[in-house]
């Protein structure tokens, strides 16, 4: 087992004081931003990106992964104690979790969430170790036409599968792709959408886009609708579970893991779909379905496991193909690019130490998170008492710092403000954020692969179609786009079994 050796080596690299410190910083910051409203892992990673250009990439990546996992833990705390999820991945947790808290079982809800997250995160990371090399072996033979097709699946998936309105998803995607066009064309050196402005020649930095859309947009949006009276936080002691809670939790944990991991790995998976599916599954399988709606522990255990497993699943396409399936992964991808690595199937070959140290750090980080969250949940809940003016002023403060630090030019701050207003409009009009970010980061990559494909075929458009992998991708795209039409043609209303997104194309 070559991978196992690599992994053990990875553990050797993680277990140095500096790397452990960065893992600890990552999971601590991650939990904090997961708990705090208005700031999530994607925004945090974007804010920290310019700061980490001075760090060792491995350490920065360990920290980012800790933030990513930590955000999933922290989000559940607010869901349960405040009934308002910190992250979209924890929306479902609030359904039963807050009911449990209201009936005096907050400690058990937090415990099953934290332990379930640990179990799912650990199993998920183990699956990552098993699956990733297979995906790499599959992806390493893919040419530009296939990669282009996979990127197009990611575009369509992010815009059309998630969210309630496809036209709004596509609108956000196209805005993102347009932002990605700005700058000097990488082949011919011609300026596109720069309006003669030399500061736009290098394009709009992903950090500025992400910070503008996430941080500034969110702060402005909240400012427009700030809740003047604070929501009540349910007080809680140290989380614990009784024998019966364990008996009722362990199966949902495993089922949640099984649902979360594959959905995290496919484009447009994210954590929302599997957490919801896990909730439905648990409600159907529960011995006491009547408890659902009044605080059933299965309804917390399953979705919480699912969202952590999906976080692990997300890393499979990110590390193996260079394909991010959610916003945090998208920004981690642009971090890799910023350090000069080329994400894709060759990453693991060229940077084995980086990849395996990262994977090993996930096991370590997960354990740290359990230790941080189980005994300290009441302390984390205190973070919710930060006065809102300071919280959002702080977010804007760090947003300014992060955006300025990229290029040291005030021009970027005006750009940041403009993008913040775009972010405001997205929230106001219910346009999803993810397709925009995916468009900005993957758009230039898709264009590169498209042009390379045509270069290989000597300009013959058939060069874009490629081989069987690409055909499958285009069939999926056609299926997703035509789905509403097909649905309309079919007689009667069918229960929406979500089988139109095939799981992993890897095996």
């Amino acid at each position: 087992m070559d991978n196992l050796n690599h992994l053990i080596e990875g553990f050797g690299h993680v277990l140095t004081p500096m790397n452990l410190l960065f893992a600890l910083i990552g999971v601590t910051v991650g939990t904090a931003v997961g708990v705090l409203p208005g700031i999530g892992p994607a925004m945090t990673v974007a804010l920290l990106l310019p700061i980490t250009y001075g760090l060792e990439p491995t350490q920065a990546l360990i920290m980012f992964a800790g933030i990513f996992y930590g955000g999933m833990y922290g989000g559940s705390t607010t869901s349960i104690l405040l009934n308002t999820p910190g992250e979209s991945a924890s929306v479902v947790t609030a359904l039963e979790g807050n009911k449990m808290a209201k009936s005096g079982r907050a400690a058990q809800a937090l415990a099953t969430a934290a332990i379930g997250s640990f179990v799912a995160g650990t199993i998920g990371t183990a699956l990552l170790v098993l699956v990733m090399p297979q995906v790499v072996a599959f992806a390493i033979n893919l040419g530009s036409p296939e990669l282009l097709a996979i990127l197009l699946v990611a575009f369509v998936g992010a815009s059309a599968v998630l969210g309630s309105s496809r036209v709004r998803g596509f609108a956000a995607l196209l805005v993102g792709l347009t932002i990605g066009v700005v700058g000097i064309d990488f082949v011919t050196g011609q300026q596109r959408l720069t309006f003669g402005q030399p500061m736009l020649a290098d394009g709009i930095d992903v950090v500025v886009v992400a910070v503008g859309i996430f941080a500034v947009g969110e702060a402005l949006w909240v400012a427009a609708h700030l809740r003047r009276k604070a929501a009540t936080v349910i007080p809680v002691g140290r989380p614990w579970m009784g024998r019966e809670d364990w008996a009722r939790s362990w199966k949902p944990w495993l089922r949640g893991t099984a649902l979360g991991f594959p959905f995290g790995a496919i484009p447009a998976g994210g954590a929302e779909v599997p957490t919801f599916l896990s909730y439905l599954a648990e409600r159907r399988l529960a011995k006491h379905p009547e408890e659902f709606g009044h605080g059933a522990i299965e309804g917390v255990a399953g979705p919480e496991a699912a969202n952590n497993a999906s976080a692990a699943g997300t890393l499979v396409p990110l590390l193996a193909i260079g394909l991010p399936t959610n916003a945090t992964a998208a920004i981690m991808l642009s971090a890799l690019q910023g350090w000069g690595f080329e994400p894709g199937p060759f990453l693991i070959d060229k940077q084995p130490v980086l990849v395996w140290t990262l994977v090993a750090s996930l096991f370590v980080g997960n354990t740290m998170l359990l230790l941080l969250n189980l005994p300290l949940a009441p302390t984390w809940a205190k973070l919710l008492q930060i006065p809102r003016p300071y919280l959002y002023a702080g977010i804007l403060f760090f947003a300014t710092m992060g955006a300025y630090a990229v290029n040291a030019q005030p021009f970027d701050l005006f750009l940041l403000l403009a993008l913040g207003l775009v972010g405001f409009a997205l929230r106001r009009f219910g346009l999803p954020v993810l397709p925009l970010i995916i468009g900005v980061i993957l758009g230039p990559l898709a264009e590169k692969h498209g042009r390379r494909s045509l270069q290989l075929s000597g300009g013959d458009l058939s060069g874009l179609i490629g081989g069987p992998v690409a055909w499958v991708c285009y069939a999926i795209i056609a299926g997703v786009i035509l789905w509403p039409l097909i649905g309309r043609l079919l007689p009667g209303k069918r229960p929406s079994d979500r089988d139109h997104t095939p799981t992993e194309a890897s095996a």
């Binding site: 011609q190 596109r192 809740r227 804007l396 403060f397 219910g430």
Partner: protein, 175 residues
């Protein structure tokens, strides 16, 4: 571009016609036109190793934006409403508070102008204090103190510690 009258599309509020959405359609269409105009001004260069050249992608995007703008407008016309985003601190039942948003934009714009001459520590402190004030903070001295503390910490930690690009400005030599 949005009309404050219709800005109460909350989950609780009755679904009302949200005509400001047509503004979004117009903006998308405008962006599409902009892409097409800009693409037209790019000199068409192709070569054997780049048969496509720099123009097709912006043209395709521009056309798709125009199509999307029309589809969006049809959706709005049929009564489609985008669900405004909720959150822990978001009260969608209330009207949009444009005064706060405007103040934040002013504070933010001022920082963008001041950051190079005055440096990060002064600008950052004022930015924090100003934003907190705009958001309803009543403890002005405390707000300023927090701002100064944050700005100094980040300056020493990141700019001097990690070599992040933050300007010293007029405090150069003192810090």
């Amino acid at each position: 571009m949005s009309d404050p009258q219709v800005d109460t599309t909350g989950a609780a509020a009755k679904p009302r016609e949200d005509r400001a959405q047509y503004g979004v359609c117009a903006a998308l269409a405008g962006l599409g036109v902009l892409l097409l105009v800009d693409a037209a001004s790019i000199r068409h260069v192709t070569s054997s190793n780049d048969p496509l050249g720099p123009r097709p992608v912006p043209i395709v995007l521009g056309v798709l934006l125009l199509i999307t703008a029309v589809a969006y407008a049809i959706d709005v016309w049929r009564g489609g409403v985008g669900q405004a985003e909720g959150g822990e601190d978001v009260d969608l039942g209330s009207r949009a508070d444009w005064k706060t948003v405007g103040l934040l934009i002013v504070v933010f714009g001022a920082s963008a102008l001041l950051i190079q001459p005055l440096g990060w520590v002064i600008t950052g402190s004022l930015l924090f204090w100003g934003c907190a004030y705009a958001l309803g903070n009543e403890h002005h001295v405390r707000g300023l103190a927090f701002g100064i503390a944050l700005a100094l910490t980040t300056f020493y930690g990141f700019a001097i510690g990690l070599g992040v690009n933050l300007p010293a400005g007029i405090l150069k030599g003192i810090l």
